[in-house]
């Protein structure tokens, strides 16, 4: 039987669990797709269009947090961290899809008053998560990784709002 807790380089944090080469994903961490010379990061026009569509999806969910906060100030305070994360995601998506047209105020239906506001916001978040997850499948490389990560993050928010 092997030693239960061997010391050495085979640690969770450094090798096995975080075995992610920084090279492929480093550009994502700064909001950019990989270098233009990187052939695999060249998006087809369809992929570019679809990524642009996900910017609009994210604009909608970011706006939903604003609308929910206006309808239920107590909820606004409770979900301020989630709203900030949605804004971060939007910024990163816009950086990854520089050609996407940006709407100054994405259309979002008015949020209902409390106590229905939370359920409405949760539905908006879940819808965006599902949209990003679906779109991820038809992307590749850094764009797929970014969309997938954002979709998972929003799914986590969905769970938090439950």
């Amino acid at each position: 039987m092997s030693s239960p807790l061997p010391s050495g380089p085979r640690g969770f944090s450094r090798r096995t669990l975080l075995a992610v080469s920084a090279a492929g994903l480093a550009a994502l961490a700064t909001g950019c797709t990989a270098a233009p010379a990187d052939e695999r990061e060249k998006a087809t026009s369809q992929q570019a269009d679809e990524l642009g569509a996900q910017v609009a999806v994210q604009e909608t969910v970011a706006s939903a947090f604003v609308a929910a906060g206006a309808a239920d100030p107590a909820l606004a305070a409770e979900v301020a961290d989630l709203a900030a994360q949605a804004d971060e995601q939007l910024t990163r998506l816009r950086a990854a899809a520089p050609g996407a047209s940006s709407s100054a105020s994405a259309p979002v239906a008015g949020a209902p008053p409390a106590p229905e506001t939370r359920a409405w916001l949760r539905a908006q978040v879940a819808t965006a998560a599902a949209s990003h997850a679906t779109a991820c499948l038809d992307q590749s490389g850094a764009r797929a990784a970014l969309l997938g990560s954002i979709a998972a993050g929003l799914s986590g928010q969905d769970g938090r709002l439950a």
Partner: protein, 156 residues
């Protein structure tokens, strides 16, 4: 297996390499949940067992996929070193967060390296489930915020 891919291209070699990394993370996480479960209080045992079962199921899927491709699925180590001592239920929950975050990073890597849509589907499903579990564990561990904007992506 040597990676003969040209730099910057996605093919089954890049995909399989990423899947092998994910499998390594899954092996470690399954092992780690044994440590988590031993230190948790009774109220959180169900979550730990459900998490471990989910990870085992995905691990088995990846083993099957790599085996079918003759792509040398990595084996589990006998044991792994821990990132910190696990002496309390709070430590155990914090370790569960580390385990799930490690698996998330591996699945994002698969999304980045995958050639086939079906593989991205597998990765997307697994990544989502992992982050949802991680949200629960961050709450149990008393971490804030419990959600992440970009699970699995390296921090800038």
């Amino acid at each position: 297996m040597a990676d003969d891919s040209e730099p910057g291209t996605l093919d089954q070699d890049t995909e399989n390499a990423a899947l092998r990394e994910a499998l390594g993370a899954l092996h470690a996480a399954v092992w780690g949940y044994g440590v988590v479960g031993a230190a948790l209080d009774a109220g959180s045992q169900g979550l730990a067992q459900a998490s471990e079962t989910a990870l085992r199921d995905v691990r088995d899927q990846v083993v099957t996929l790599l085996t079918e491709r003759r792509a040398d699925p990595v084996r589990a180590e006998g044991a792994y070193s821990l990132p910190f001592p696990v002496l309390s239920p709070a430590d155990a929950a914090a370790l569960a967060v580390v385990l799930e975050d490690g698996v998330s990073a591996a699945w994002v890597r698969v999304l980045d390296q995958a050639e086939e849509r079906t593989t991205r589907q597998l990765a997307m499903t697994a990544l989502t489930a992992t982050e949802v579990r991680a949200v629960g564990w961050r709450g149990t561990a008393g971490q804030t915020p419990v959600t992440r904007a970009f699970p699995g992506l390296p921090t800038s």
